[in-house]
Structure formats: structure tokens, C-alpha cells
């Protein structure tokens, strides 16, 4: 069996990261936490919980952290990589299902979609459904790939995808950049249903309307002149 690595970007997540890492350790051979210049004890908590911590000296944003995490996974010799959020909104069991799907070898990229009905599919708050739909439409118009959950943080990459991916964006717009890579590199895509877990904590940390608008603006500008 290949080596499975979970990558968790984290910025000021000291209250949740330890539990997320402990759960993730059960689903993967290695867990890499990218501490994106946190001002709290995210690194310590993650390392105590069993993660390999890679630390950014200054905050670079979600895209920058994911790029570093994927590079670290490649150095560790990963055969498959799953990215998940540090705020507890993803289940390690779903990461394990993504690894299983990738192990079949016929898929390069897996999206854990909160929008497909499946086992244990939870409900998303209405405004999140709307934001997500806007994100999907925008991603489709800009990059020409339709996916049911373009903004999902739970994704799986095959060894081939890990080796060839070239993330250039630093911020939240990286979610759509993954989709762009699917199209440009002709990766074979699968979506598997995952439950939408929303805690008060994860809602407070998620994308606000302002961040959403900023992300959308950056995507559009980059598409045409970036």
C-alpha cells in the first residue's frame, strides 16, 4: 500500500488543531500541519498531537500554506495527499474514504463535496449554500469545469497530481485554482459526498461575505491579466 499523507493548513487554530491531528493520524501514515505564521501555539499543539509541523515565518494565506504542505508531502514520498481544514469541519473518516478512492488508481483528483447527497450528509446553512453556488458558477465561467463544491477544503490528490500541481495563488482563491489545474492538466476527477459539519467555531473562522467578494474579484482579475 502507498504512503498516505494528510496536509492541514493552520493559522491560529490552537484550540482545534490537536484533536484534528489526532483524528487524522488514524487515517494516514503521516500528518503534515503547515503553521502559516500563527501568533498562538498552533505549532506546539500540532506537534504534541503527532503531526510533522512545517512553519511559515510569516502568514502567506491558505494557498501559500497548501502549496508548502503539498511540497512537504512530496518530500516525504507521498503516494496520495488529502488536504483538510484545521477547524474541525472535516472528518478523518472522509479523508480515509478519499485515500481508498485514490488507491484504485483511476483518479487523479477527488473533491469531498458537501453538495452531493450521500451517507450522513449534513445540512449547510442557507447563506453558505448560496455562497457556494456563486463560487461554483464563477469557477465554471472562469475555468470551464463544473464541480458541485468548488470551495471544499477536503480534497485528494494522486501522486501524479502532487508531482505536477503548480499553485500560484496565496489566498482563498486557491480553491478555484485547484479546479483550474484539473482542467489544464487533464486530471481525472471524482467527487464523493461528505457531510457539512458546521460548528459555531468553524462558522466564525470561515469565509465572510467580504472575503468572498475579495476572493471573487481576485479570481476574475487573475483570469484576465494575472
Amino acid at each position: 500500500m502507498g504512503k498516505n499523507v494528510i496536509v492541514i493548513p493552520a493559522y491560529n487554530e490552537e484550540t482545534t488543531v490537536a484533536q484534528v491531528v489526532r483524528d487524522a493520524c488514524r487515517a494516514a501514515d503521516r500528518v503534515v500541519v503547515v503553521d502559516d505564521g500563527s501568533r498562538d501555539h498552533t505549532s506546539v499543539r500540532a506537534r504534541e498531537a503527532g503531526a510533522l509541523v512545517v512553519r511559515h515565518a510569516v502568514n502567506r494565506g491558505l494557498g501559500g500554506a497548501l502549496g508548502t504542505g503539498i511540497a512537504a508531502a512530496l518530500k516525504l514520498g507521498a503516494d496520495a495527499v488529502v488536504t483538510m481544514d484545521a477547524d474541525g469541519q472535516h472528518r478523518a473518516a472522509d479523508a480515509a474514504r478519499i485515500f481508498e478512492r485514490l488507491a484504485k488508481g483511476d483518479i487523479d483528483f477527488v473533491i469531498g463535496s458537501r453538495m452531493i447527497r450521500g451517507d450522513g450528509g449534513g445540512k449547510m446553512p442557507a447563506h453558505r449554500v448560496l455562497f457556494n453556488a456563486i463560487g461554483n458558477v464563477l469557477t465554471y465561467l472562469l475555468f470551464g469545469v463544473w464541480v458541485s463544491d468548488s470551495q471544499s477544503g477536503l480534497r485528494g490528490l494522486s501522486r501524479k497530481a502532487v508531482e505536477t500541481i503548480d499553485l500560484r495563488t496565496n489566498g482563498m482563491e486557491v480553491s478555484s485554482e485547484f479546479i483550474k489545474e484539473i482542467k489544464e492538466r487533464s486530471w481525472r476527477l471524482a467527487e464523493i459526498p461528505i457531510p457539512a459539519i458546521y460548528t459555531e467555531y468553524s462558522l466564525s473562522k470561515g469565509q465572510s461575505l467580504f472575503v468572498g467578494v475579495k476572493t471573487a474579484a481576485k479570481l476574475i482579475i487573475r483570469r484576465f491579466i494575472g
Binding site: 506546539v44 515565518a57 510569516v58 508548502t68 500560484r168
Partner: protein
């Protein structure tokens, strides 16, 4: 013909800007091509301030009604172009910073954490 106040202000500012351009060039912070373009630009500004009727001739050539209008249009186009270039430069810088930060983080991963690396930032 006596100078109006606005002409004086524009000429003074043009000369000030030119002096800054030369200063930067002398310090080696400006390539020769940029020096030439900026000198051309600011000399144009000074010329237009001293000889406003010349802009009218230029405006007629371009098919715009008034000399003042053509100056505004050109200024807007220049500003937008510079804004676009600045945007691109900032993006490049952001990417480069990320590359540097990433390289340092991966190096630390190879060597193991330093005694101070768990200390919170700031």
C-alpha cells in the same frame, strides 16, 4: 505673457519630479529606458503647462475637442496603466515572498525544528 498660478505650480512640480527621476537614476535604481520615458513624460507636462495652446493642436490631431480634455484622457490612461503594472508587480512580489517562506519552512523540516521555532510570532 504672464504666468498663471497653476502654470507655475505645474512647472515647479515637473522640475521637482525630474530632479527625483535623475536622482534615482544616479543611485542606480532606474534603468536607462525608464529614465528616458520619465524625462519625456515630465518634459511634456512642463511644456504643456507653459504652452497650453500646443495641447489644442494635439487635441485637434487626435479628434478631441479641447486641449485640456486630451490631457485628462492621457493622464487617466497613464494612471490606469501604472496601476495595472503596480498590481502585477505586487502579485509577483507576493509569489516571490511565498517561495522564500516556503523554502525556509521546508529547510527547517529537513533539519528539524530549531529551539525557538515553536515560539508564537509577533
Amino acid at each position: 505673457m504672464p504666468f498663471s498660478a497653476i502654470q507655475l505650480v505645474l512647472v515647479c512640480f515637473g522640475l521637482f519630479a525630474l530632479s527625483r527621476v535623475f536622482l534615482r537614476f544616479r543611485r542606480g535604481g532606474l534603468p536607462l529606458v525608464h529614465l528616458a520615458l520619465w524625462v519625456l513624460f515630465w518634459c511634456g507636462v512642463i511644456f504643456a503647462a507653459l504652452e497650453p495652446s500646443a495641447t489644442s493642436t494635439f487635441a485637434r490631431m487626435l479628434g478631441v475637442g479641447r486641449g485640456a480634455d486630451v490631457v485628462i484622457y492621457l493622464a487617466l490612461v497613464t494612471l490606469f496603466y501604472l496601476l495595472f503594472r503596480t498590481f502585477g508587480k505586487v502579485e509577483d512580489l507576493e509569489r516571490q515572498i511565498t517561495r522564500v517562506v516556503r523554502a525556509a519552512a521546508l529547510k527547517e523540516m529537513d533539519e528539524g525544528p530549531s529551539p525557538t521555532s515553536d515560539r508564537p510570532k509577533g
